[in-house]
């Protein structure tokens, strides 16, 4: 499904004026949507192009968040340091742990990543000299850019989404590249891919590292948005939420990631007016999507699109 220039331009304009016309609460949610899109992008790459279920993203999200928080608050260093430290630690950890764990396949790999997330969550809790435990780290400064203090959601929105667009461009580059070809080959038939010299283990590890990088960036952005981070945000449930983003939206589609991120940020909020019942509805909505839309929302949209153009167009 190709986007035409006019529709892209319209989307861009809508995106640009959105924070100016919505309430502060909605703008805040839109910032979260951007942050979650970045984290979900990495998971989507692994799920859609490698067939890997990665339930460890909260680990790297947490590392990015705590790195930014610690460097800014405890060490008084400028924000880029926190971003970089988080990114480097996440990538290094992903590489070291990824090499052995990614030799597993299928459910074992999913369980392995889930176990990783559980371990990280416990360590975030235990190592309170670093993370502050449940009390967390507070007072994380807002970011400033070129003299502008990004202290309102409507301002931070632009920064977060520009970073998100950057990540999306990088992801799109990867998918369209030679590496992308090899990833999909690996997903469809690792036996044949091996015979064509695709380095399966190496690729899996490297994509896992890229996914961790995205998670870390999202975490750092989160820290500067929320001003306060603590262990509740980096649990196994958070990893599951990140997995849901490409599942709902469509793992091989970048707009799908945004749809999925919108789903997991807005839906709980919209439903919360119904009290505790809203969580049941969220679960049911998720089940409905999985059952009715196996390729996610964008997958369904693409199928409709194909059918529509085939009907209106010419045969064969």
């Amino acid at each position: 499904m190709r986007w035409s220039w006019p529709s892209l331009a319209v989307a861009l304009v809508v995106w640009a004026i959105l924070p100016l016309v919505v309430s502060r609460g909605t703008a805040d949610l839109l910032v979260f949507t951007g942050i979650y899109s970045i984290a979900g992008l990495g998971i989507g790459l692994l799920l859609g192009h490698c067939g890997i279920v990665n339930l460890a993203q909260a680990t790297f999200y947490g590392i990015g968040a705590y790195a930014s928080a610690y460097c800014a608050v405890n060490l008084g260093l400028p924000a880029p340091v926190g971003f970089s430290v988080g990114a480097l630690v996440s990538m290094a950890l992903a590489y070291v742990i990824g090499r052995p764990v990614l030799r597993l396949t299928g459910y074992f790999l999913a369980l392995g990543t889930l176990a990783l997330s559980a371990i990280a969550s416990a360590l975030f809790f235990e190592w309170d000299w670093l993370t502050g435990g449940t009390l967390g780290i507070g007072g994380i400064p807002k970011l400033g850019l070129l003299g502008f203090a990004l202290d309102r959601p409507s301002r931070y929105y632009y920064f977060v989404w520009i970073v998100a667009f950057g990540c999306m461009i990088v992801a799109r580059n990867l998918v369209d590249s030679r590496t992308g070809l090899m990833l999909r080959a690996m997903r469809d038939s690792s036996t044949a891919a091996a015979s064509l010299t695709v380095d399966i283990q190496g690729l899996r590890t490297r994509i896992f590292v890229v996914c961790a990088l995205f998670g870390s960036i999202a975490g750092s952005l989160f820290a500067h948005h929320a001003s306060f981070v603590s262990t509740q945000s980096f649990t196994v449930e958070r990893s599951i939420t990140f997995l849901l983003i490409p599942v709902i939206g469509g793992a091989t589609s970048i707009p799908g990631i945004v749809v999925g991120a919108l789903f997991v940020t807005f839906l709980p909020e919209l439903l919360s007016k119904l009290g505790d019942f809203h969580q049941i509805l969220f679960g049911l909505a998720l089940v409905a999507v999985v059952v009715a839309l196996p390729n996610g929302v964008m997958g369904a949209v693409e199928s409709l699109w194909i059918r529509a153009t085939r009907r209106s167009g010419h045969g064969g």
Partner: protein, 295 residues
């Protein structure tokens, strides 16, 4: 680290481990019968336990009856979910990932339902055999724990006998190994699959009911039990439901020895690290049968 402390830890480990084993056996049974990884297995435990709690405290049913009812509710829930969702998706040839995500969604729904209907509080059940304890070499062992171990072992043996001696059990095994072949001998493969979910629900509920005198059950316990049950099943080789017994005990022992040896806060870290290491080094699980990969 005294001897009595170690003994107590071993005992606690075996006790907890058998709870994980029951959850894991249910998970393994479902996986073997339908290739579905049931991420809501722990919710069966919670719902079974909560049912027993409510019947006991609100409706004043006799304890054994409440337990039976709780287990039955778990079993029926399993069957209902298979009929409502799994059958439909199987007919549409959904991918294995889709089933996993379905069960994740159902797990969220079920845990939210418990929150909605029961609230946030944890609930305890009275221990079986009363509050009594045994003292063995200065180690404190609850009577309930002995009941738990006995019932869990009985369930394990019962499961093995069921699968290998009863017609229904053999039919379920046949249907899971070779669906087409089983169908030609007149076995209703779809119904067998429903039964595996019923059995999985029953085992999960039983595990939940047995652990509730030791640990307060609340709406969040499900995820933790699912995780541990999954670990137990994988350690045991995933397609061997009885392997989950060995896997569960191993997991429980690693956990409790970590508590006494290192500290209670690191128990999850140690347990899950051991799980990862074993998965990498022993892909067939501890009992190792014909190398069964997960996907």
């Amino acid at each position: 680290m005294t001897f009595s402390l170690v003994l107590q830890a071993i005992f606690a480990g075996v006790t907890n481990g058998l709870v994980y084993a029951l959850v894991g056996m249910g998970l393994s049974t479902i996986f073997k019968g339908s290739r579905v990884i049931n991420a809501m297995q722990g919710e069966f435990s919670v719902i079974g336990a909560m049912t027993t709690v409510l019947l006991l405290s609100q409706m004043h049913w006799p304890y054994p009856l409440a337990i039976a009812a709780g287990a039955l509710v778990g079993a029926m829930l399993g069957g209902a979910i298979e009929l409502a969702f799994v059958r439909y998706m199987t007919r549409k040839n959904a991918s294995e990932d889709s089933f996993l995500l379905l069960t994740i969604g159902l797990a969220l729904t079920l845990s939210a339902s418990v929150l909605f209907f029961v609230g946030r509080d944890g609930h305890l059940l009275p221990p079986l055999g009363g509050d009594g304890v045994f003292i063995l070499f200065d180690a404190v062992i609850q009577v309930h724990a002995l009941w738990l171990i006995a019932i869990a072992i009985a369930a394990t043996i019962g499961l093995r006998l069921f699968f290998h001696r009863t017609t229904l059990g053999l039919s379920m095994m046949a249907a899971s190994i070779d669906a087409d072949g089983a169908a030609t001998t007149g076995i209703n493969v779809a119904r067998m699959r429903t039964y595996t979910f019923v059995l999985g629900g029953l085992l999960g509920a039983l595990g939940g009911i047995l652990v509730t005198p030791l640990v307060a059950v609340d709406y969040q316990l499900g995820l933790s039990l699912t995780l541990k049950g999954f670990a137990a099943a994988v350690l045991g080789g995933l397609t061997n439901p009885l392997g989950a017994a060995v896997g569960g005990i191993t997991l429980g022992l690693v956990e409790s020895l970590a508590i006494v040896g290192i500290s209670s806060s690191y128990k999850d870290v140690v347990a899950f690290s051991v799980l990862i290491v074993i998965m990498i080094l022993m892909p067939q699980g501890i009992l190792g049968r014909a190398g069964r990969r997960g996907g």
